[in-house]
Amino acid sequence: MAADGFLQIPYVYYVYLCLQMGYDCVEMENNIEAVLDTPLQTVVLVVVSLTLGLLAIKLLLILLKRLLLVSSLDNAIVRFVTTSIRVLLWVALLLHCMQLLDIPLGSMIALLSAIGVAIGLAIQDSIANVANGLVMIMTRPFKVGDYVRIGDDEGTIEELRLMNTVLSTAENKKLILPNKTVFTSRIVNFNTNPIRRIELFFSVDYSTDLDKAIAVTEKACHSCQTVLSSPSPRVELSRAAASSLDILVWVWCSSAEYWNTYFAVERAVFDAYKAEKIEIPFDQVTVSMRKDSPSRRPRTVKTEASK
């Protein structure tokens, strides 16, 4: 094939590529010549097949996407499946058109395979993210809207993508974590169970009637609307600390109402202690003097008058 003028440079590069790949350049040249000598009707046939084929693929994918949406498959998997099927159908259409042009497919497929291996090695981290993303979507350790801790990061799941997971932190920052990191980290999901237990500590003075303090605390917990009666709240003496008696409170609430319940119980117990005059002590230190301690030498300070 005579490569003239500006075609020489890509032609030389094409020959270099063929030699590197170990393909027979002469055979490839003959194939390209055959394409260029194709009669007009075959070219029209290929153009018509390509156009109508692309239209058919687009319509088929719209249908497929709608059918998969109605199914129970996750949306991220639906997108992955439709994208994969789109690529496969495009490749099939391209191979069909190449067959119409009488281009032998064997060498082309071998070349594509080699390029595929090179690309796969280059983007292996991205592929790991996609693979981990697929596993996460299928195993569902969390779903959109759950509040989770992934490693040291905490936030509400905004979006589950194939390559990464998007969290919205309490400070309203968007955190984008690669799925490989998410999959290999420790995940704590605060929303999996419909109810959660809140643990609170309240301190009362040592002089307080303990039974009364516990009764008042229990009553205050029950007065909060979001505290569940089953499992019922538990109030016990946790420890006799240095300055106070520490009372432990366990209350249960629905996961969605966790913080509302937390603040409501804190406030209700504080108000109840105030109403019943139960003292909440400050930190105190008791100092005791020992009678048998050796007396220290009295210190005298000479003043002007004593001189």
Binding site: S49, A56, V70, N75, G145, A256
Partner: protein
Amino acid sequence: MNMEAIIDMVMPIWLYVRNTVYGWFVIIAVILMFLLIFKCYRSPLSIAMDKLRKLHPVLVRLSSRKSVPSRKRIRHIHVLLVRCGRFVQAYLYDHPSETAVSDAYRLISSADRAILALSLDSLQKNAQASKKVIRNAASLVSKAIDSIAR
């Protein structure tokens, strides 16, 4: 170049490609038929909007009843809300910058969690609390409808 010459040039090409074109037209016609059957001409957002509009009066009616809805009813509403959420999410994938639709998706998820909480034993025994939860879910659905309509 007169018409006869053009037709003489085009006819052999048409005869050559005719069967292929007919074949592709048949395939496209079959796909179009299935698209019409499954109503794929409608946007997923409009389907979600219709479902939410039908659900809202149901929730309002349930919140005014004295008894707690049965678990089967709760499950049915939950499945409906999940489906609406999926349609809205599918729309969001193609239009990620639409904040109003994103808000609607969050509201639908919150309504779904509220409805799921109704299946707890403590709420099943407490008609008053469950009425509040259903009312809350109805208000969330109403806000979601307004967000999508914006």
